[in-house]
């Protein structure tokens, strides 16, 4: 099979382009593919995920969420943007809107349809917030200069002690 563009080179890539409702198939040789910026060589997509996240961030609406902070771990969306990682499970509630959009772009969907998790019943696990955990959260709030949050946590800690 020869290249659709130069009609000479051997086809190495079958490119499918979707623009609006229009779908175009283009069979390209290595040279023509390279000219169009289509990668054909054996390079491992090193920063695939990070790049994907970054490109998604650029398209994210200039977030009103930007200044918002997770009340559990004091992370911000800006922290997430620079590290690519969220701070804690509660960040998913704190930045719900932005994350839903991001998940949709990354996975094509934001709704989990896999196994449903049933958490252990209260009796099966001893799970109350311990003083140690609160101290960790207090420390983190202080480090990120969230003094109001720190005061709340300190009150809870006093209540516990």
């Amino acid at each position: 099979m020869v290249c659709d563009v130069c009609k000479e080179g051997d086809v190495v890539i079958d490119l499918t382009q979707v623009e609006g409702a229009e779908v175009r198939h283009l069979r390209l040789c290595e040279k023509c593919a390279a000219e169009r910026g289509v990668e054909t060589s054996l390079v491992v997509p090193k920063q695939q995920v990070t790049e994907l996240l970054q490109s998604v961030h650029q398209h994210m609406p200039a977030a009103s969420d930007d200044a918002a902070r997770c009340t559990f771990c004091s992370s911000t969306l800006r922290d997430f943007r620079s590290s690519g990682r969220l701070g804690c499970p509660h960040c998913y509630n704190a930045f719900e809107k932005s994350l839903r959009e991001l998940l949709r772009r990354v996975h094509g969907n934001s709704r989990h349809v896999g196994h449903r998790y049933v958490p252990p019943s209260e009796g099966a696990v001893e799970r109350s917030v311990t003083a140690g955990e609160l101290r960790d959260r207090l420390q983190r709030a202080i480090e990120s200069e969230q003094f109001e949050m720190a005061a709340d946590i300190r009150d809870k800690l006093r209540g516990l002690e």
Binding site: L42, V44, G84, Y92, G114, Y117, P120, R127, G132, D136
Partner: protein, 359 residues
């Protein structure tokens, strides 16, 4: 702490035994589930105390959850750097857990529980990375094992879970099922026939991704590729796995076809090339890691094509792991310079091939 790898169940390398389906082309199947414990910050944001509490909570749950005493807990954070290097070489833990990447030094509370064909990394990017690792192409076996571990741990340790988003993970690329299934696959036929570019491009269009031998960010060496699902949300675990199986089967068929074409159209050239690779491994006095990997790839292909008989895939798999630098240093009992490692590698490979029956 001195690490004695011989104490691990099957030395942690049962997956090398070349027992599974298509094991000359598919080396191994790995399925992992990412889980986090409710009530703590994710591992990289957590404070030391939080990670240690996660570790303690999981450690308490493991005996009942795995239902066997056949496993070892290793505190990665208490190991010396040289020992930490061994674990990723053996594909037992990720580079991140071993603290080998500059941006992620080893974290307090980093640990791994190793059983015969499964493992649990603790305080990696996520609190828990439950894994099953099998020889050959064995997706459903690996999944049933890791699913059972997940069910039992999850019944004792509360996971972070969201009714809409599913299992919550530190990186949104794992959210939902938290499932990543990957097969380590050897594709010299497709590389030699230059078909590989098309196959890999097609793979990405099918929603799969590929990496090198050591996972994310690693180079492709010795024509080994790790292929895995790219997305984790919006499809069930079964759908994700079925899709991967279908695509990998297709890739295996393409590889087999390329091998037939090579033999038909370039028989003696290929035969010569592969025997030269064998000759080099059998007699060389110094081998770099890349050289060893590339020649091993050739010999592996020769065994698959029945050009070289009497050499087992198991031996080739072992060479792949034990000729790596940290393993050579471990055998020597001291750190080796690059030159020393090249000499030790050649000697080790020579000896292993000598012990195999005459070709």
């Amino acid at each position: 702490m001195t690490l004695d790898l011989s104490l691990l169940p099957s030395g942690g390398v049962q997956w090398l035994d070349a027992s599974g389906e298509h094991s000359d082309i598919v080396l191994s199947t790995r399925i992992r589930l990412a889980r986090n414990v409710e009530g703590y910050a994710f591992a990289s944001r957590a404070r030391d105390g939080e990670r240690l509490r996660v570790l303690a909570q999981v450690r308490d749950a493991i005996p009942a959850a795995t239902g066997s005493d056949d496993g070892v807990m290793l505190r990665v954070d208490e190991m010396e750097a040289g020992e930490r290097l061994l674990l990723p070489e053996r594909h037992l833990v990720s580079r991140e857990l071993a603290g080998l990447d500059a941006q992620h030094p080893v974290r307090s509370g980093a640990a791994v529980f190793l059983a015969r064909q499964s493992s649990i990394m603790i305080n990696e990017e996520d609190h828990l990375r439950l894994q099953s690792l099998r020889s050959g192409f064995a997706v459903s076996e690996a999944f049933s094992e890791v699913e059972a571990i997940d069910r039992e741990i999850g019944a004792r340790v509360p996971y972070a879970y969201h009714p809409e988003f599913g299992y919550l993970t530190a990186c949104p690329t794992n959210t939902g099922t938290g499932l990543r299934a990957s097969v380590l696959i050897h594709l010299p036929g497709l590389v030699l026939t230059k078909e590989i570019g098309k196959v890999l491009a097609g793979l990405q269009q099918m929603g799969l991704t590929y990496r090198g031998l050591y996972g994310e960010g690693s180079e492709v060496v010795g024509n080994f590729f790790q292929m895995s699902n790219q997305t984790t949300l919006g499809r069930s675990e079964e759908e994700l796995l079925d899709h991967l199986v279908r695509v990998v089967r297709h890739v295996v068929e393409r590889e087999e076809e390329s091998r037939r074409v090579l033999l038909r159209d370039a028989g003696y050239i290929i035969e010569d090339k592969l025997w030269r690779a064998y000759g080099t491994l059998r007699y060389a006095r110094s081998l770099t890691f890349e050289e060893a990997m590339n020649f091993l790839s050739g010999v592996r292909l020769a065994v698959g094509l029945n050009l070289i008989a009497g050499l087992s895939v198991y031996t080739l798999n072992k060479l792949l792991i034990f000729s790596q630098s940290a393993h050579l240093a471990y055998t020597a009992g001291r750190a080796l310079t690059e030159n020393e490692a090249n000499l030790a590698r050649a000697k080790f490979v020579r000896k292993a091939l000598e012990e195999e029956p005459d070709k």
